[in-house]
Structure formats: C-alpha cells, structure tokens
C-alpha cells in the first residue's frame, strides 16, 4: 500500500491545508517498518490534540498511531470521553457513535469491511477509556471477544472517569477517594486482563505507556494477531494527572512508578498458542528479511 489514495491534484496543491501537504509529502503510509522512531522525522497521523498539557494519553495516541502496521487500511472506533476530543484530528477514519458501544460498532464494521473487501486487509482498532470498556460497555466488550471478532481493543486505563471530572470507575483502585466514591472505592480494580484471557482474547497485554518501543511492539502484535486469529486486548495505563493531583511534567514518572514489578501496572502478558505460533512466524520472517538486507548490503559493498 502507498500514498496513492491521498494524492492531491497538482492544480489544487497550493490551496490545500499544509497539514494535508505534509501528509502526502512525509507521512508513513505504506512504510512497512513504521514505528515510534518516525515521530519527529515524518508527518504524524495526529496533527494536534486538545488534551491537558502533559496528558499521558496524548503520548499513547501518538505512539499507537505511529505503530499501526497498516494505517492506510485501518479504521478506528472510539467512544465518549477524553479520546473523543482527539479522534476528530486523526488522519485515519474513526467512528464515534455512542458511549460504551465501541465493540459493537467495531463488530459490525469489521464484518461489513470483510464483506465489501474480500481478500483485502482492513484492520479495525477500538480505542476507548476504562469507563467505556469496563463499565457501561462491558457487555459489548466481552461479547465481541466471545464471538471471536477479529479486531483489537485498546483500553486507556486512567482509573476513573476523567472527562466528566474524576468519578469512580470499575478500573479505579480500591480505597481511592473520588467523586461518587466519597468514602473511597469499596471494591477491587476489575481484573479485565484476566477476564479478557478467559473470554477468548488471543493476546492480552497490560502495561503503561512509558516506553514507546514497547507500545510499538504490543500494538503491532495485537493488530497482526487480531487480523489473522481473533480478538486482542491492550490495557494501557494513561494516568489522569489532573485527577490524581500531579503536575503536567509528572505523568511519565507516575507511569514508571506504577509499572514496577510489585505495582499494579507491572507488565502482564498472555498469548494464546495460535498467537504464539503467528508471532514466531512473524519473527522468523523479520529475521529472514534482515539477513537478506544484510546480504544485499554486503554485496553492494
């Protein structure tokens, strides 16, 4: 795939917005090894955002969009929340319809794209907050997994309802005092990664977004596995610095503190047997390609 579909007519080139021109000139559509390292060297698929200064969610958005293996044929599905302030400014088609129905939308969408484009790859990626994924939308989150719908679900876990002003959510830690949890949350953080595994997800990762290289790897794996095998789930800690009383520059440290081996966001991964096989095949192919490139380089030299 290439930039064929985003070409601008020569006669109209000079009147097109500069971010469109940049997209055609230096975006990474069609670049096979695209990833987080392209950030800063190429036009990103996210132009700007209206999140709070220093919000880890904005980092997560940039890493994810830089890491999608096939953005020119990827449709994203969002939900209501802070993410819905960002999505309109992203250069891939994305759907916001209601609060919590993202996995139902994605189920219908993926099936429609499969009917309409047989033999072509069209990836669907859901990206929603923890309220949407675990509370109001839990039914549809799980049912899509039970049905083995072939798309990736990404949850931005900030452990509360951020956009409405910091209310208790199912993924909030027990005991945390928040709006609607006036004496502290009374029950444990919902264990969605474990539930995802039991519900049929073939690849489940829980981590923070402190390391872009890690996000690149897990996003790529999740999308490739969902394309070939079945549902995948990523739960990414994107702390709401505003609601946990941190400053703009403290988001990264908060994530680093929370991902220590004894902490609640210690890296957690589950890979099903068929998914392991696929990842091994992908790794073997990568190795082959690198070896071939090395050989070519040495011949050239």
């Amino acid at each position: 795939m290439s930039k064929e579909r985003i070409k601008i007519s020569e006669d109209l080139y000079d009147i097109m917005p500069s971010d469109y021109q940049d997209l055609v000139k230096s975006a990474t559509y069609g670049k096979e090894d695209r990833g987080w390292k392209d950030i800063g060297n190429s036009k990103e698929l996210i132009e700007q955002h209206s999140l709070c200064a220093g919000c880890p969610e904005s980092m997560a958005f940039r890493y994810i969009l830089a890491s999608l293996p096939n953005p020119e044929d990827t449709v994203m599905v969002g939900s209501t929340g802070c993410t819905s302030l960002v999505f309109p400014m992203v250069a891939v088609h994305n759907i916001h319809s209601l609060f919590g129905n993202q996995n139902a939308i994605a189920s219908g969408l993926k099936r429609a794209l499969s009917v309409r484009f047989p033999g072509r790859t069209k990836d669907v990626v859901v990206l929603a907050g923890d309220g949407a994924t675990v509370d109001i939308g839990l039914d549809m989150t799980l049912q899509a997994w039970f049905r083995q719908e072939k798309f990736t679900t990404i949850c931005f876990d900030n452990e509360l309802y951020a956009n409405t002003g910091g209310q208790e959510s199912g993924l909030m830690q027990k005991g945390f005092v928040a709006k609607m949890a006036p004496v502290g949350k009374l029950f444990d953080k919902v264990r969605l990664p474990e539930i995802a595994r039991e519900s049929g997800c073939h690849y489940v990762v829980q981590c923070t977004v402190s390391k872009p290289s890690l996000i690149e790897k897990v996003v790529r794996n999740a999308v490739m596995i969902s394309r070939e095998i079945g549902p995948t789930y990523l739960q990414l800690y994107t702390p709401c610095i505003l609601e946990i009383g941190k400053n703009s520059m403290e988001g990264l440290q908060e994530m680093r503190d929370s991902e220590k081996p004894t902490e609640r966001f210690a890296y957690k991964e589950y890979v099903s047997e068929p998914a392991k096989q696929l990842l091994a095949e992908m790794a073997a192919k990568d190795k082959e390609k690198k070896a071939a490139a090395k050989q070519l380089a040495s011949q050239g030299a």
Binding site: V92, H93, L98, I105, L109
Partner: protein
C-alpha cells in the same frame, strides 16, 4: 467498487439478476404466494441484495430474524449473526453501515425501547439502515401482544417511519424502502413498522416479484457523509471537535445538523410519493364520516365501513402509510369535507389522533378512538358502535353481548 448502474443485468453469486428496481417492482410478473408475514420478510430480503443482517430474539420478530439466517446459510446475505441485545445489535448495524454495507435488522417492543439511544445516532450519522419493527406491548407487567405504542417514540428520532397494513405492503416497502433511504439527498434510516402477530403470524396471499431478480447493490459513495472504509483517507475529520465546546459555533453546528437531518426527512417526501404512490391512500373522502388510521387499524376500519354501508351509513377512509415525513398536506386535503374524523388505534395514548389534531383545522372533528391496547383485538363492531354513538344513534354496548 461496485457501481450501482453498471451492474444492472449482471448476475450475483446466487444467479439472481441485478434489476432496475422500478422495473422489478412495477413491471416484472408477480406470483401469488400464501405466506406468513415473517416468511414475506424473508422473501423480500432474498431480493434485497443485503450485505449484513444482525438478529436478536424477541417476540414477535424472532421468526423473521431466524428465517433471514436461513437465507444467509443459502448465500443470499453477506454476513449474519446474533447480537447480544438490541442496544448492541443497533450499534452493530451502525458499524456495518458506517463501513458501507446495506444493513437490515428487525426488532419489537421492549427491544425497540432498549435500542432507542441508537436511533437519533443513526439519523445523525446518516446511516440508511432498514429496521423492521413488529410492534408489541412495552408496558409492565410483561406483554408480548400487539400494541403500537413504540411507534410514538420513533417519531422524533429523525428516522423515516412507515406503517405497513398488510404483508403485501411489507414485501413491497422493504424493497422500495432501500430506494428511498439510500437516496443521497435522504440517506436516513427507515423504521418499517407493522402490528406484531396480526401481520407477522397470519397468512395472506402476497404477490411476489420473481426470485431470480434482486435490487442493485448499495453504493456507499452516493452519500452525504464519508464512508468509513479508508478508501478515501481523511486529513482529519474536523479541525476542532464540537463535543463539549460551549460556544456559539458549536451550538450552531449541532443545530444546523439537526435541521439538516429533518430537512432530509422532508426531502424523502418526493421519493416516497413516487415509490409508494403517495403517503396516504383514500376512499370516499367526500363522506361526512371519515376513518383515518394506520397499520392493521386500517383493515378493521375497512370492515367497519362495510358494516356501516349495510345500514346505509356512508363512511370514507384514509390509510396513513407514512408517518415520517408526516403527510400533513395530504391529510388536510383528505379531511376537508369530513364532519367526524374517527381515529382507531392499537395503543393507549392515541398518538396518531394527536398528530392529526395538530395538522388540520377544526380539530374538534377528530374523535381519538376507539383505542385498544395490551394485545386486545379491535372488532370492527366497536368502530361501528363508536361512530353510531357520535351520530347519536343508540347502540347496544359491546359488553352486553356477553
């Protein structure tokens, strides 16, 4: 991408010929067949070139939804599955329509209510989904019986709302419905309603179009909004998200889009008139007494008119086929001679009578009844009795018949 017009005359994978819809509906030979309403829905879908159908069990639409599953197994539908609830199903339908599919679903009563949040979203997102509503009670205690109250809730969603009287209406309107819904200047969902059981579970002679002809496929690029398939990637969807911005531009954007949705409902009028031969049908509107009804209340009205004729009382009839867009002009014209306008309904609130009262001059002419609900039938005799009472003719009360 399939171009709608270039495929006419070619065959689909089931050997059906993509046929110009006007010719298929109006010129092709028809075969009389004796079917239940549910079977008729299946037969219409066989000819509808439908990409995605999503099903959920709820009486009285379960049979139709399952029969369409059989069509999928035979290869007539692109994809088919059972969703987990009506709210989810209507969102799944939205997802499929966002992705450029021709989408079909069926629901009823509490299911319609559970899914309600989706309907204004469908209209706002300009998704031409077709939803069959086989109306049933929505009250508590639980009822599965016919009752049209749910239609009242659909009237302000921005969907097109049609109310079929018979299985024949159903067959024709399912196919014609897509033609209206998918017009680029309309591009809105259609709620095609009928009275549950009375239409779905009774058998009737229905004239079917040839099974080897089908509608041209849906072309998702003949649309006022982009199809979410990344065939034409966006630079960005919008410069600034309108959600949660408390400023005039945000308000104006939302207001103008709502107005545009309702303008699209209005623009569907001309297409609907063409395909359905008018939004209403009338008989003897020069009579002083007029029955105005929709759905199976029309059939009961016809029977009442026959009974009244036997007694020398002349009564006209208006069958309201389309509720959105509302046929105000037509109803004003049809009722201009009437001294008494009787509106029999299968629901407790009398929403049709209210609509009519808000439409015509001298609305005291409207008699909002008789009304039955909760699954009660409406014997023509109660319409007759109501009319006689209005005319000051003494009648024996229905209750005294024992």
């Amino acid at each position: 991408m399939a171009d709608t017009h270039s495929v006419i005359g070619t065959k689909n994978k089931k050997g059906q010929t993509f046929t110009d819809t006007w010719a298929m509906m109006n010129d092709a030979p028809r075969t009389p067949s004796f079917y239940t309403g549910s079977e008729v829905i299946k037969e219409a879908l066989r000819r509808a070139s439908c990409d995605v159908m999503i099903a959920y069990p709820i009486t009285p639409q379960s049979e139709a939804a399952a029969l369409i599953g059989e069509l999928f197994a035979e290869g007539y539908i692109g994809d088919y599955f059972r969703g987990e609830s009506e709210f989810a199903v209507m969102s799944q339908c939205a997802g499929a329509a966002f992705g450029g599919a021709r989408v079909f679903t069926t629901t009823a009563g509490p299911g319609t209510m559970r899914a309600m949040e989706n309907f204004p979203m469908w209209s706002g997102a300009r998704l031409p989904i077709q939803m069959i509503v086989t109306c049933r009670g929505i009250n508590s205690p639980l009822s599965i019986q016919p009752d049209t109250l749910e239609i009242a809730y659909l009237l302000n969603t921005g969907m097109l709302v049609w109310h079929a009287e018979t299985a024949q209406d159903f067959f024709d309107w399912i196919l014609k419905g897509y033609m209206v819904s998918e017009e680029p200047d309309v591009h809105l969902p259609l709620a095609l309603c009928c009275d549950g059981f009375f239409v779905t579970h009774t058998k009737d002679v229905v004239n079917l179009t040839p099974a080897d002809m089908c509608l041209p496929p849906y072309d998702p690029y003949r649309s006022p909004v982009p199809c979410m398939d990344m065939e034409c990637p966006p630079v960005r969807m919008m410069r600034d998200p309108f959600v949660m911005k408390s400023n005039y531009i945000s308000y104006a954007t939302h207001a103008s889009w709502q107005q545009e949705v309702w303008a699209a409902v209005e623009r569907s009028r001309k297409h609907t008139i063409k395909w359905l031969n008018g939004l209403i049908e009338t008989e003897n509107t020069d009579a002083e007494i007029l029955i105005v009804a929709s759905g199976t209340a029309v059939s009961q009205g016809r029977e009442a008119i026959r009974l009244l004729e036997d007694e020398g009382i002349r009564c006209g009839l208006v069958k309201v086929k389309v509720l959105r867009p509302w046929p105000g002009e037509e109803i004003r014209e049809a009722t201009k001679n009437a001294k008494h306008i009787i509106v029999p309904e299968f629901n407790v609130t009398g929403w049709l009578a209210k609509e009519i009262k808000a439409t015509i001059p001298n609305s005291e002419r409207v008699h909002a009844g008789p009304r039955v609900c909760g699954g009660m039938t409406m014997p023509p005799e109660i319409i007759v009795s109501e009319i006689k009472t209005l005319l000051g003719i003494h009648t024996v009360s229905m209750a005294s018949r024992g």
